[in-house]
């Protein structure tokens, strides 16, 4: 298994106060994704459904470094990122169900979550296409001097396409406060790393642009949080971008329609032994002295939250309008 840090690398210690909320988010995302998978198999969710199960520590740890008004730009695999930024499981699941109460009123579905109140600038379906948009949010922050930071997530398979390459080049040239986070889950659909990248170290893409870079394993939410914090601070203080590669793994197929035959059972099992959810829980118990009761309380709460969110999605009215959202009324001309 391709680790970045040596096995013995021990991440910084944490505290209950810090880790419990992160654990709660990882757990909630896990349960939300599982609930979505179930609903999909029941035909209650349609289209493409890309789950992030196994990768939760990356978005949770990274987004935990942000202020509410900081921006996040993500891909079609963005339920976890949206949840971590503050979008409710109700709004997300109702969207997947195509309901009027969904975060975008049933217009976007799984791939296109957008939420202005939490500065979540979207889930995008065209690989690489969202990277220049993240640079644009960073450009606006620099233009206004508002001190905001933008996080841009993408997969390793998206690190070759022009949109990505031009996006990071402009961010580096103009010194935009953006942290580009590659969630390197070793596969681009059915294509393993070594067949899509000449150099497996995605962070080396930063060298051509003199951009700061980092690489780390994504199984430990605290490690992710610490290391992304450094990049976020750099962006906030010096306005400079960073390219960070985080190694991770998706436990499920690319999307619900992918049986994932291109991976061996052994490989998947090996990664499951590094389940970020289990690791966070273990650290809470072993290092932070959290009691089983405390954790079970969190787990019950999450269980209730997701059950309620599913009920909400089920009971919500169907989506019913789309025509108002094509062209916005303008002062001049329709």
């Amino acid at each position: 298994m391709r680790r970045i840090e040596p096995e013995e690398d021990t991440p910084d210690t944490s505290t209950k106060e810090e880790l419990i909320p992160l654990y709660r988010q990882i757990l909630a995302i896990r349960r939300m994704e599982e609930a979505a998978a179930k609903a999909y198999s029941q035909g209650k969710i349609g289209g493409f459904l890309h789950l992030i199960i196994g990768q939760e520590a990356v978005c949770v740890g990274a987004v935990s470094t942000l202020r509410r008004d900081d921006y996040v730009v993500a891909t079609y695999r963005e339920h976890g990122h949206a949840y971590a930024k503050g979008v409710s499981s109700r709004a997300i699941l109702a969207e997947l169900y195509g309901k009027k109460t969904g975060v975008v009123k049933g217009l976007g579905g799984s791939m296109h979550i957008f939420d202005k109140p939490t500065s979540f600038l979207g889930g995008y379906g065209i690989v690489g296409g969202h990277v220049p948009i993240a640079a644009g949010a960073g450009f606006a922050s620099k233009y206004r001097g508002d001190g905001r930071v933008t996080l841009c997530f993408f997969g390793e398979g998206s690190s070759t396409i022009g949109g990505f390459q031009e996006g990071i080049a402009l961010a580096a040239l103009w010194k935009l406060p953006v942290v580009f986070i590659c969630e390197n889950n070793l596969y681009s659909m059915g294509t393993p790393l070594y067949r899509s990248l000449a150099v497996e170290d995605v962070s080396m893409r930063a060298l051509a642009h003199g951009m700061a870079r980092d690489r780390l394993d994504g199984d430990d939410v605290i490690r992710v949080r610490r290391r992304i914090q450094i990049a976020v601070d750099r962006a906030r203080e010096s306005g400079e971008p960073t390219l960070v590669e985080v190694r991770t793994y998706r436990f499920r197929g690319h999307s619900m329609s992918d049986p994932g035959l291109y991976r061996t059972r052994e490989e998947v099992d090996e990664w499951k032994r590094r389940d970020p959810l289990a690791i966070a829980r273990r650290r809470l118990v072993d290092e932070c002295g959290a009691s089983e009761e405390e954790l079970r309380a969190v787990e019950d709460e999450v269980k209730k939250e997701i059950a309620d969110a599913i009920r909400f999605a089920e009971d919500s009215p169907a989506a019913d309008e789309y025509r108002p959202y094509v062209t916005k009324e303008s002062p001049t001309g329709d």
């Binding site: 195509g98 976007g108 579905g109 690989v127 398979g157 059915g190 067949r195 025509r323 094509v326």
Partner: protein
């Protein structure tokens, strides 16, 4: 005759052409080990090896250009776009290179290449994945554009596309892959630029291609119950367009409804309407009607998507309109 799926028909066409001509290769995302995102290339990697079935990274502009360069020097690439929605990042290669190199080089470098993949809305894949871009590609001289509606046409047209000396944009119906139909075992070709009357009728001409052909056939059945005989004409190739077959049909029926899944403004149907009115003004008993998707990006929710995409009932009422029955 054996009955196979549209998907299999495409697969057989590629396999036969690759067997026939060593210069033909298939390149695209997930076409090899994954057997194709829509399984059109099932078995081809095993049959032809990594040399001729090439998994490409996500870089449409790059591998579209690689195909064009390879075609310039004598190979005959088949470039698969996982869907044509993703061809927009490569459209500069298609419009400025593939379509123009034969002209820029004054005929020295023909570009025998096929860009293929599914197009048009699937089901609930939302706005970035639900687009019908045929009118954009049909606009460009130097290209050919084919859009088969049946397994038989899919195989015959794709084989012709691979043998064509020009770049061919070959848009498959994403919702047609499982459609089945009779396809002979013997080899055959369907020339590019020849329309086919899919159903004979005398009261109204329905012009449709790709996924809208089955919709029109269903509408024709419904109309038949009312005693209205609709003729369904499938151009099959949008560039070059076989206007003659369409015009003859409209001259016979005097009424024309053009059905497409794309957006209305500047949709391909507008071009058909222009050519029909120019040739048939005197024989038209009613203005030409068009049935298209609504002029909106596609919503995700199934109920809304159905409202946006042309349904059998929409075709029927358009026919009623041109027959002044509404």
């Amino acid at each position: 005759m054996p009955v196979i799926s549209y998907r299999e028909a495409l697969n057989h066409a590629i396999k036969e052409e690759m067997e026939r001509d060593e210069r033909v290769f298939l390149m695209g995302e997930e076409v090899g080990y994954y057997q194709g995102a829509y399984k059109v290339s099932q078995g081809l990697l095993q049959r032809f090896s990594e040399r001729r079935v090439i998994d490409a990274p996500i870089a449409e502009m790059g591998f579209a250009g690689v195909g064009i360069g390879a075609a310039m020097v004598g190979l005959r690439p088949i470039i698969e776009f996982m869907t044509f929605n993703f061809s927009l990042v490569a459209i500069d290669q298609i419009v400025n290179n593939a379509a123009k190199i034969y002209q820029m080089s004054a005929g020295q470098f023909p570009i025998p290449i096929v860009f293929r993949g599914p197009g048009g809305p699937a089901v609930q894949v939302a706005s970035q994945h639900s687009q019908a871009l045929e009118s954009m590609y049909s606009h460009v001289p130097g290209l050919k554009v084919a859009m088969p509606s049946t397994p038989y046409d899919a195989k015959g047209l794709l084989k012709s596309a691979v043998r064509d000396e020009n770049p061919v944009i070959f848009i498959e119906g994403e919702t047609l892959y499982n459609a089945t139909g009779e396809v002979p075992d013997e080899e055959y070709l369907i020339p590019l630029g020849v329309a086919e009357v899919k159903r004979q009728g005398s009261h109204v001409s329905l012009i449709a291609w790709s996924a809208m052909v089955p919709v029109c056939m269903a509408a024709a059945e419904k109309l038949a119950e009312e005693g209205i005989e609709a003729e369904v004409v499938d151009p099959r190739t949008l560039r070059p367009l076989d206007a003659k077959t369409i015009v003859e049909s409209v001259q016979k029926t005097g009424r024309c409804v053009i059905v497409e899944v794309g957006w209305p403004l500047c949709g391909y149907g507008a071009e058909v309407a222009y050519q029909v009115q120019r040739e048939c003004l005197d024989s038209l008993d009613a203005p030409i009607e068009r049935v298209t998707s609504e002029d909106v990006p596609m919503p995700y929710a199934l109920n809304l998507e159905r409202e946006v995409i042309p349904q059998v009932a929409d075709v029927v009422s358009a026919v009623h309109k041109v027959l002044y029955l509404d």
